[in-house]
Protein backbone atom coordinates (compact mmCIF):
# COMPACT_ATOMS: atom_id res chain seq x y z
CA UNK A 1 0.00 0.00 0.00
CA UNK A 2 1.32 3.42 -1.06
CA UNK A 3 1.82 6.51 1.05
CA UNK A 4 -0.52 9.41 0.32
CA UNK A 5 0.67 12.97 0.71
CA UNK A 6 -1.62 15.79 -0.42
CA UNK A 7 -0.43 19.28 0.51
CA UNK A 8 -2.91 21.72 1.98
CA UNK A 9 -4.56 24.40 -0.12
CA UNK A 10 -6.61 27.38 1.09
CA UNK A 11 -9.73 25.26 1.19
CA UNK A 12 -8.51 21.68 1.50
CA UNK A 13 -6.50 20.05 4.30
CA UNK A 14 -3.10 18.42 4.28
CA UNK A 15 -3.64 14.67 3.98
CA UNK A 16 -0.66 12.66 5.15
CA UNK A 17 -1.10 8.91 5.22
CA UNK A 18 1.71 6.47 5.97
CA UNK A 19 0.58 2.82 5.83
CA UNK A 20 3.91 1.51 7.20
CA UNK A 21 3.66 3.68 10.28
CA UNK A 22 -0.14 3.14 10.27
CA UNK A 23 -0.80 6.88 10.64
CA UNK A 24 -3.00 9.48 9.04
CA UNK A 25 -2.65 13.17 9.87
CA UNK A 26 -5.34 15.49 8.59
CA UNK A 27 -4.53 19.14 9.20
CA UNK A 28 -5.63 22.62 8.16
CA UNK A 29 -8.99 23.71 6.82
CA UNK A 30 -11.63 21.93 4.80
CA UNK A 31 -14.44 23.69 2.95
CA UNK A 32 -14.05 22.63 -0.67
CA UNK A 33 -16.74 23.22 -3.26
CA UNK A 34 -17.24 19.46 -3.46
CA UNK A 35 -15.73 17.47 -0.56
CA UNK A 36 -16.32 14.21 -2.44
CA UNK A 37 -14.00 15.35 -5.21
CA UNK A 38 -11.18 15.91 -2.72
CA UNK A 39 -11.73 12.99 -0.36
CA UNK A 40 -13.16 10.20 -2.55
CA UNK A 41 -9.90 8.84 -3.99
CA UNK A 42 -7.73 8.92 -0.81
CA UNK A 43 -10.59 7.47 1.25
CA UNK A 44 -10.77 4.38 -0.98
CA UNK A 45 -7.19 3.59 0.14
CA UNK A 46 -7.92 4.47 3.77
CA UNK A 47 -10.98 2.22 3.89
CA UNK A 48 -9.02 -0.65 2.39
CA UNK A 49 -6.24 -0.05 4.96
CA UNK A 50 -8.71 -0.02 7.86
CA UNK A 51 -10.19 -3.36 6.78
CA UNK A 52 -6.83 -5.10 7.24
CA UNK A 53 -5.37 -6.66 10.36
CA UNK A 54 -2.45 -4.62 11.76
CA UNK A 55 0.39 -5.61 14.09
CA UNK A 56 0.82 -2.23 15.76
CA UNK A 57 -1.14 0.85 16.76
CA UNK A 58 -3.25 2.52 14.08
CA UNK A 59 -3.21 6.23 14.85
CA UNK A 60 -5.27 8.92 13.10
CA UNK A 61 -4.71 12.54 14.08
CA UNK A 62 -7.25 15.23 13.30
CA UNK A 63 -5.55 18.63 13.50
CA UNK A 64 -8.20 20.74 11.82
CA UNK A 65 -8.64 24.46 12.40
CA UNK A 66 -11.90 24.64 10.44
CA UNK A 67 -14.18 22.38 8.43
CA UNK A 68 -17.64 22.92 7.01
CA UNK A 69 -20.63 20.67 7.51
CA UNK A 70 -20.13 18.64 4.34
CA UNK A 71 -16.53 17.93 5.37
CA UNK A 72 -17.85 16.99 8.84
CA UNK A 73 -19.62 14.11 7.11
CA UNK A 74 -16.22 12.83 5.95
CA UNK A 75 -14.81 13.09 9.51
CA UNK A 76 -17.79 11.15 10.86
CA UNK A 77 -17.36 8.43 8.22
CA UNK A 78 -13.69 8.16 9.19
CA UNK A 79 -14.65 7.77 12.86
CA UNK A 80 -17.05 4.94 11.94
CA UNK A 81 -14.42 3.19 9.81
CA UNK A 82 -11.86 3.54 12.64
CA UNK A 83 -14.31 2.13 15.16
CA UNK A 84 -14.99 -0.84 12.86
CA UNK A 85 -11.23 -1.35 12.53
CA UNK A 86 -10.92 -1.43 16.33
CA UNK A 87 -13.89 -3.77 16.65
CA UNK A 88 -12.05 -6.19 14.35
CA UNK A 89 -9.33 -6.42 16.98
CA UNK A 90 -6.93 -3.66 15.96
CA UNK A 91 -5.40 -1.19 18.38
CA UNK A 92 -6.80 2.16 17.23
CA UNK A 93 -6.15 5.64 18.60
CA UNK A 94 -7.82 8.85 17.43
CA UNK A 95 -6.30 12.15 18.45
CA UNK A 96 -8.49 15.24 18.06
CA UNK A 97 -6.50 18.46 18.20
CA UNK A 98 -8.06 21.88 18.63
CA UNK A 99 -6.96 25.43 19.39
CA UNK A 100 -6.97 26.19 23.09
CA UNK A 101 -9.94 28.59 22.90
CA UNK A 102 -11.84 26.71 20.19
CA UNK A 103 -14.78 25.26 22.15
CA UNK A 104 -16.57 24.54 18.92
CA UNK A 105 -13.89 22.19 17.61
CA UNK A 106 -13.44 20.56 21.02
CA UNK A 107 -17.18 19.92 21.43
CA UNK A 108 -17.41 18.44 17.95
CA UNK A 109 -14.56 16.05 18.75
CA UNK A 110 -16.22 15.06 22.02
CA UNK A 111 -19.53 14.51 20.28
CA UNK A 112 -17.98 12.46 17.46
CA UNK A 113 -16.20 10.31 20.05
CA UNK A 114 -19.63 9.19 21.32
CA UNK A 115 -19.55 6.84 18.32
CA UNK A 116 -16.52 5.05 19.70
CA UNK A 117 -16.55 1.99 21.90
CA UNK A 118 -13.42 0.07 20.96
CA UNK A 119 -11.25 2.81 19.44
CA UNK A 120 -9.37 5.03 21.89
CA UNK A 121 -9.86 8.77 21.80
CA UNK A 122 -7.76 11.64 23.06
CA UNK A 123 -8.43 15.41 23.02
CA UNK A 124 -5.37 17.64 22.68
CA UNK A 125 -4.78 21.36 22.22
CA UNK A 126 -2.47 22.93 19.64
CA UNK A 127 0.64 24.50 21.10
Amino acid sequence: MEKILIEATARTPKFDFDPEKRTLVLSGESYPEDPQKFFAAPLVTIREFLKQKHDGLVQFNFQMTYFNSSSAKVMMDLFSALEDCATEGNDVMIEWHHADDDDNMRELGEEFSEELVNAKFKLLTFN
Binding site: A10, R11, Y31, E33, Y66, N68, S69, S70, A72, K73, M76, S80, A99, D101, D102, D103, N104, E107, L108, E111, F112, E114, E115
Partner: protein, 195 residues
Protein backbone atom coordinates in the same frame (compact mmCIF):
# COMPACT_ATOMS: atom_id res chain seq x y z
CA UNK B 1 -25.06 58.87 -14.29
CA UNK B 2 -26.61 59.18 -10.91
CA UNK B 3 -23.81 59.11 -8.37
CA UNK B 4 -26.12 60.45 -5.69
CA UNK B 5 -28.34 57.36 -5.89
CA UNK B 6 -25.31 55.13 -5.27
CA UNK B 7 -24.23 57.28 -2.35
CA UNK B 8 -27.78 56.99 -0.99
CA UNK B 9 -27.59 53.22 -1.51
CA UNK B 10 -24.26 53.06 0.31
CA UNK B 11 -25.64 55.18 3.16
CA UNK B 12 -28.68 52.92 3.39
CA UNK B 13 -26.39 49.89 3.78
CA UNK B 14 -24.26 51.71 6.29
CA UNK B 15 -27.32 52.82 8.30
CA UNK B 16 -28.29 49.17 8.55
CA UNK B 17 -24.83 48.34 9.88
CA UNK B 18 -23.89 46.34 6.79
CA UNK B 19 -20.12 46.05 6.38
CA UNK B 20 -20.00 43.42 3.61
CA UNK B 21 -22.63 42.80 1.02
CA UNK B 22 -22.94 41.08 -2.30
CA UNK B 23 -26.01 40.72 -4.43
CA UNK B 24 -25.91 38.88 -7.70
CA UNK B 25 -24.89 35.64 -9.28
CA UNK B 26 -22.59 33.63 -7.06
CA UNK B 27 -20.09 30.90 -7.60
CA UNK B 28 -17.50 29.27 -5.40
CA UNK B 29 -14.81 31.83 -6.28
CA UNK B 30 -16.99 34.57 -4.77
CA UNK B 31 -17.16 32.54 -1.57
CA UNK B 32 -13.36 32.28 -1.45
CA UNK B 33 -12.87 35.97 -2.25
CA UNK B 34 -15.39 37.47 0.16
CA UNK B 35 -14.37 34.89 2.77
CA UNK B 36 -10.73 36.03 2.62
CA UNK B 37 -11.67 39.71 2.85
CA UNK B 38 -14.06 38.94 5.71
CA UNK B 39 -11.34 37.16 7.67
CA UNK B 40 -8.95 40.06 7.11
CA UNK B 41 -11.58 42.57 8.29
CA UNK B 42 -12.34 40.49 11.41
CA UNK B 43 -8.61 40.26 12.19
CA UNK B 44 -8.01 43.98 11.62
CA UNK B 45 -10.93 44.73 13.95
CA UNK B 46 -9.35 42.42 16.57
CA UNK B 47 -12.62 40.54 16.77
CA UNK B 48 -12.77 37.83 19.43
CA UNK B 49 -11.48 34.60 17.85
CA UNK B 50 -14.58 32.58 18.81
CA UNK B 51 -16.88 35.20 17.29
CA UNK B 52 -14.69 35.39 14.17
CA UNK B 53 -14.76 31.63 13.69
CA UNK B 54 -18.56 31.57 14.10
CA UNK B 55 -19.09 34.38 11.61
CA UNK B 56 -16.79 32.82 9.04
CA UNK B 57 -18.37 29.41 9.44
CA UNK B 58 -21.94 30.78 9.12
CA UNK B 59 -20.84 32.74 6.06
CA UNK B 60 -19.41 29.62 4.37
CA UNK B 61 -22.44 27.42 5.14
CA UNK B 62 -24.95 30.05 4.05
CA UNK B 63 -23.18 30.98 0.81
CA UNK B 64 -22.76 27.28 -0.04
CA UNK B 65 -26.52 26.90 0.49
CA UNK B 66 -27.20 29.71 -2.00
CA UNK B 67 -24.76 28.22 -4.51
CA UNK B 68 -26.44 24.82 -4.21
CA UNK B 69 -30.10 25.66 -3.75
CA UNK B 70 -31.07 29.12 -5.03
CA UNK B 71 -33.96 28.75 -7.49
CA UNK B 72 -32.56 31.52 -9.69
CA UNK B 73 -29.99 29.68 -11.68
CA UNK B 74 -28.19 30.07 -15.00
CA UNK B 75 -25.92 27.71 -16.91
CA UNK B 76 -24.17 25.53 -17.74
CA UNK B 77 -24.72 25.83 -21.48
CA UNK B 78 -25.58 22.62 -23.30
CA UNK B 79 -25.56 21.78 -27.01
CA UNK B 80 -28.51 20.36 -28.98
CA UNK B 81 -27.79 16.88 -27.64
CA UNK B 82 -27.88 18.17 -24.09
CA UNK B 83 -24.13 17.79 -23.62
CA UNK B 84 -22.41 20.44 -21.52
CA UNK B 85 -19.99 22.56 -23.53
CA UNK B 86 -16.21 22.36 -22.96
CA UNK B 87 -15.90 26.14 -22.78
CA UNK B 88 -14.62 26.86 -19.23
CA UNK B 89 -16.73 30.02 -19.03
CA UNK B 90 -19.93 28.44 -20.29
CA UNK B 91 -19.76 25.04 -18.61
CA UNK B 92 -20.47 26.43 -15.15
CA UNK B 93 -23.57 27.09 -13.15
CA UNK B 94 -24.17 30.33 -11.27
CA UNK B 95 -27.00 31.08 -8.83
CA UNK B 96 -28.43 34.36 -7.64
CA UNK B 97 -28.38 35.29 -3.99
CA UNK B 98 -27.67 38.01 -1.47
CA UNK B 99 -25.12 38.03 1.34
CA UNK B 100 -24.82 40.65 4.07
CA UNK B 101 -22.60 40.78 7.13
CA UNK B 102 -22.74 43.61 9.60
CA UNK B 103 -23.23 44.98 13.07
CA UNK B 104 -26.52 45.49 14.90
CA UNK B 105 -27.11 48.52 17.09
CA UNK B 106 -26.79 46.30 20.19
CA UNK B 107 -23.29 45.19 19.18
CA UNK B 108 -24.24 41.75 17.92
CA UNK B 109 -23.11 40.85 14.43
CA UNK B 110 -25.30 39.29 11.78
CA UNK B 111 -24.65 37.05 8.80
CA UNK B 112 -27.58 37.06 6.40
CA UNK B 113 -28.16 35.18 3.15
CA UNK B 114 -31.23 35.37 0.97
CA UNK B 115 -32.29 33.61 -2.19
CA UNK B 116 -35.40 32.69 -4.12
CA UNK B 117 -36.86 29.28 -3.49
CA UNK B 118 -39.71 27.55 -5.26
CA UNK B 119 -43.01 27.55 -3.40
CA UNK B 120 -43.16 23.73 -3.53
CA UNK B 121 -39.95 23.55 -1.47
CA UNK B 122 -41.11 26.00 1.21
CA UNK B 123 -43.00 23.59 3.53
CA UNK B 124 -40.13 21.11 3.74
CA UNK B 125 -37.49 23.75 4.49
CA UNK B 126 -39.81 25.49 6.94
CA UNK B 127 -40.46 22.20 8.74
CA UNK B 128 -36.77 21.38 8.97
CA UNK B 129 -35.92 24.85 10.35
CA UNK B 130 -38.82 24.81 12.83
CA UNK B 131 -37.63 21.44 14.07
CA UNK B 132 -34.38 23.00 15.30
CA UNK B 133 -35.83 26.26 16.63
CA UNK B 134 -35.18 26.71 20.33
CA UNK B 135 -32.55 23.96 20.49
CA UNK B 136 -29.46 24.87 22.49
CA UNK B 137 -25.87 24.28 21.50
CA UNK B 138 -25.57 20.91 23.17
CA UNK B 139 -28.74 19.58 21.57
CA UNK B 140 -27.65 20.91 18.18
CA UNK B 141 -24.23 19.26 18.50
CA UNK B 142 -25.91 15.93 19.23
CA UNK B 143 -28.33 16.40 16.34
CA UNK B 144 -25.43 17.20 14.05
CA UNK B 145 -23.74 13.91 14.89
CA UNK B 146 -26.98 11.97 14.38
CA UNK B 147 -27.60 13.59 10.99
CA UNK B 148 -24.00 13.08 9.88
CA UNK B 149 -24.32 9.43 10.74
CA UNK B 150 -27.67 8.87 9.06
CA UNK B 151 -26.60 10.61 5.85
CA UNK B 152 -28.18 13.44 3.89
CA UNK B 153 -31.95 13.79 3.79
CA UNK B 154 -33.65 13.06 0.48
CA UNK B 155 -33.23 15.76 -2.16
CA UNK B 156 -30.19 17.27 -0.48
CA UNK B 157 -26.79 17.56 -2.11
CA UNK B 158 -24.81 18.35 1.03
CA UNK B 159 -24.66 16.59 4.34
CA UNK B 160 -28.05 18.18 5.13
CA UNK B 161 -26.62 19.52 8.37
CA UNK B 162 -25.67 22.99 7.18
CA UNK B 163 -28.42 24.80 9.08
CA UNK B 164 -27.90 22.69 12.20
CA UNK B 165 -24.24 23.61 12.07
CA UNK B 166 -24.97 27.36 11.72
CA UNK B 167 -27.60 27.28 14.49
CA UNK B 168 -25.10 25.52 16.71
CA UNK B 169 -22.29 27.99 16.11
CA UNK B 170 -24.71 30.87 16.73
CA UNK B 171 -25.72 29.22 20.05
CA UNK B 172 -29.30 28.99 18.83
CA UNK B 173 -29.50 32.70 18.00
CA UNK B 174 -30.82 32.72 14.43
CA UNK B 175 -33.99 33.42 12.51
CA UNK B 176 -35.49 33.12 9.06
CA UNK B 177 -38.34 34.42 6.95
CA UNK B 178 -40.12 33.26 3.81
CA UNK B 179 -41.24 36.43 2.06
CA UNK B 180 -43.90 36.03 -0.66
CA UNK B 181 -42.97 37.59 -4.02
CA UNK B 182 -45.03 38.81 -6.98
CA UNK B 183 -44.56 35.37 -8.49
CA UNK B 184 -46.79 32.97 -6.49
CA UNK B 185 -44.37 30.14 -7.29
CA UNK B 186 -41.41 31.91 -5.70
CA UNK B 187 -40.60 32.86 -2.13
CA UNK B 188 -37.72 35.02 -0.95
CA UNK B 189 -35.96 32.98 1.73
CA UNK B 190 -33.83 34.93 4.23
CA UNK B 191 -31.76 33.28 6.92
CA UNK B 192 -29.86 35.21 9.55
CA UNK B 193 -27.46 34.09 12.28
CA UNK B 194 -26.26 36.31 15.15
CA UNK B 195 -22.90 36.41 16.89
Amino acid sequence: MNGQSFLDFRNELSNRGIVFTYSGFLNDDILTGIGNALRTKLALDHTDSKVSRGIFSAFVEQVQNVIRYSAETQGPEVDEEGVVTDDPLLNQEIRYGMVAIGDRADGKRFVTCCNMIEQKNVPKLQASLESIRGLDRKELTKLMREQLKEGPPEGSKGAGVGFVSIAREANGDWDYEMVPTEDPNMFFFCFEAYF
